[in-house]
Symmetry: C3
Subunit: 298 residues, 3 copies
Amino acid sequence: MDLTEALPLGELAAAFAALPVFPLFDTAYFIISILYLKYEPGAVEMSRKSPFASWLCAMLHCFGSYILADLLLGEAPIGYFSHNSSVILATAVWYLMFFCPMNLFYKCVSFLPLKLVFVAMKEVVRVRKIAAGVHHAHHLYHHGWFVMMATGWVKGSGVALMSNFEQLLRGVWKPETNEILHMSFPTKASLYGTVLFTLQQTHWLPISEANLIFFFTMFMIVCKVFMTATHSHASPFAPLENLICPVLFGSVSSGHPGHHHDHHGASHEVSHPPPPPPAKSKEELNEGTRKRKAKKAE
Amino acid sequence: MDLTEALPLGELAAAFAALPVFPLFDTAYFIISILYLKYEPGAVEMSRKSPFASWLCAMLHCFGSYILADLLLGEAPIGYFSHNSSVILATAVWYLMFFCPMNLFYKCVSFLPLKLVFVAMKEVVRVRKIAAGVHHAHHLYHHGWFVMMATGWVKGSGVALMSNFEQLLRGVWKPETNEILHMSFPTKASLYGTVLFTLQQTHWLPISEANLIFFFTMFMIVCKVFMTATHSHASPFAPLENLICPVLFGSVSSGHPGHHHDHHGASHEVSHPPPPPPAKSKEELNEGTRKRKAKKAE
Amino acid sequence: MDLTEALPLGELAAAFAALPVFPLFDTAYFIISILYLKYEPGAVEMSRKSPFASWLCAMLHCFGSYILADLLLGEAPIGYFSHNSSVILATAVWYLMFFCPMNLFYKCVSFLPLKLVFVAMKEVVRVRKIAAGVHHAHHLYHHGWFVMMATGWVKGSGVALMSNFEQLLRGVWKPETNEILHMSFPTKASLYGTVLFTLQQTHWLPISEANLIFFFTMFMIVCKVFMTATHSHASPFAPLENLICPVLFGSVSSGHPGHHHDHHGASHEVSHPPPPPPAKSKEELNEGTRKRKAKKAE
């Protein structure tokens, strides 16, 4: 039993971890996910021309985490779609987002204060998914540390990790980048989070699961709400990474072209274009595009 | 018990649904599938240079439905290949199609009256697969409506749904389109069919499975035989879609750039080229190409 | 009981087949696999900018065979990652290969005599994997000949069969070629090997598994050591293929544009560029690149 359990904080954390995510938090997750799908160039047109493809993209955005985790663990990728109520709810959100008369639904959920509430609620679901993924993998592979971390990671990152193929479904193909090569904040946070949850599950981190869920969720909410509100791209991990990465890997990671050793005889050719600035999440990129267009329209 | 069962039609339908598909109908399925593979640009050359890759493509065309359904349901994608006799039969059809002396086999199966018979027989197999897929998914997920529909759909559409990757195997890459974005007739018909079979399986459609198989097969045979014989691209679903889609989705679907609402602040950019005309199936496209080349040769 | 068992050779073969591959032979497998990853253009830079992506690529190179076999058989693709010691060992090799001070580790393992030892040891592991794959598939599908051959093949070929997607992870996309269309020696040898092991498993080849492992491993070691030492690209299968393929497939396979029949009405268009010379393995290609750069540097 750790210190936090002695305080009322432990009870708060336990109650928080037991909070049911369906239907409210799940709805917020769907809203934000499909909102960012709508920001994608061509998404609105696709919804008119190929509504089925648009719906399928929306389902990938909403349930990508379950699909990927099931793929990794050899279970049916379509298994989660047996939860009819979740699929119908996500479908309703998709329909309202793309086909609501006068675009009312979109305007409502884009209203910043309300949007920030949904963003916060989405992070609650994300962290829960990471914890559930690690827990499920632990159940199947008691000592499979890497399996636990991988499962938690894909549960947290969701559709971002299959972005190349989700784009392919929309007829877009950008092979020069992917979410693993240039990690956005949610993907990187999910990676660090899954390590923490795995350490907790294997009793290397002396904290209860409920407390870890609580604290990590608070961290994610603060970061994401701040980044969404200010359109900031600064990663909260940057200070720590800039300290550790040069030591471990010989340069600053995440896209900065640091000095690297001259490897005698090894290939120096670079097959891909100059490194991009710190990876913005699809959400951040699209927010910027959206704002510029809104200004142009004005 | 519905009306049709009282008539001899019910017995006919029952007998029809019980007809074994192996080996005759399966052979026809393989013949038509591999025939359309042969129409693909570069397929003949590939069979000479990389016969193994050509064979693998043929296997994808013949068994793609089973592979996709198994992938969806978390079963072994290679599982169907344990049916040695089916694989050997498909291999024999592939070999005769590509390597028969004087191209005799190809000339025989291309003889239009015989080809139309094979096309009809292929539709018998397609509808059976949809029904079997829905049935199998129902067995695993008793109330998984979306799972049933997805399984039936991939069983009916087959390799078309993985066309991007089947082309990749042949060294071709066309990311700007795919079978979900621009649905051809067989894929769309399979989608509507799987909805009907799911409604039937869950007792929402008051018709027996045998009757539904019978009537839907007749519908598919009439459409496909007519479209193959006349090289028509008109979709029989167009009248119904042109009625419903503008109401539900605000424009005509299937590639017509209809008027869409101005979404304040949303992105208007189009990331892909102007929409193509109503999607022709790979088969129809290749038939057109083949005919033009035949005329040129003459 | 076959003749070889009467000789001490039988005992040698049995002892050889029972030799544990972990940790020595597995380490050699990891070293050679990651060495060839390092040769890839941009790999060193990727290790600096995106160390996680670099590590993931290395894991695909080391464990690609297990991932593919599990994918085929509907088991958890991440299952092998529950072997923590193997993953940690592979991680250690990756770290030393890319981040060892003064590039010492790379220089050591590139020292030709030592490298040839590792190459030989890698072939021991490859053949064992083919045998294990066939054996495992036989256990699941007693009469699934094609399943056994497919499983053994992917176990032997490993990451090469998913090269397009491994490259995609590195931000590289080359759809015009793939390992099935233009097979390199290891992939082709694995294909022939899996046929032999399947015939042995189903008692069509009168030889014990231990003896087949022994002889096939010796064959692979001799070929790979010779090809690595001399940078030769000549395939030992070429004489046999040049005899059989023209008879079966009407021309010489593996990239030679032989005469093909004129198919009346069939498409003659070639959708991909002129055929490349006999496929060099990624290893051979990168060795050539590396040597030219080393000469330039001098």
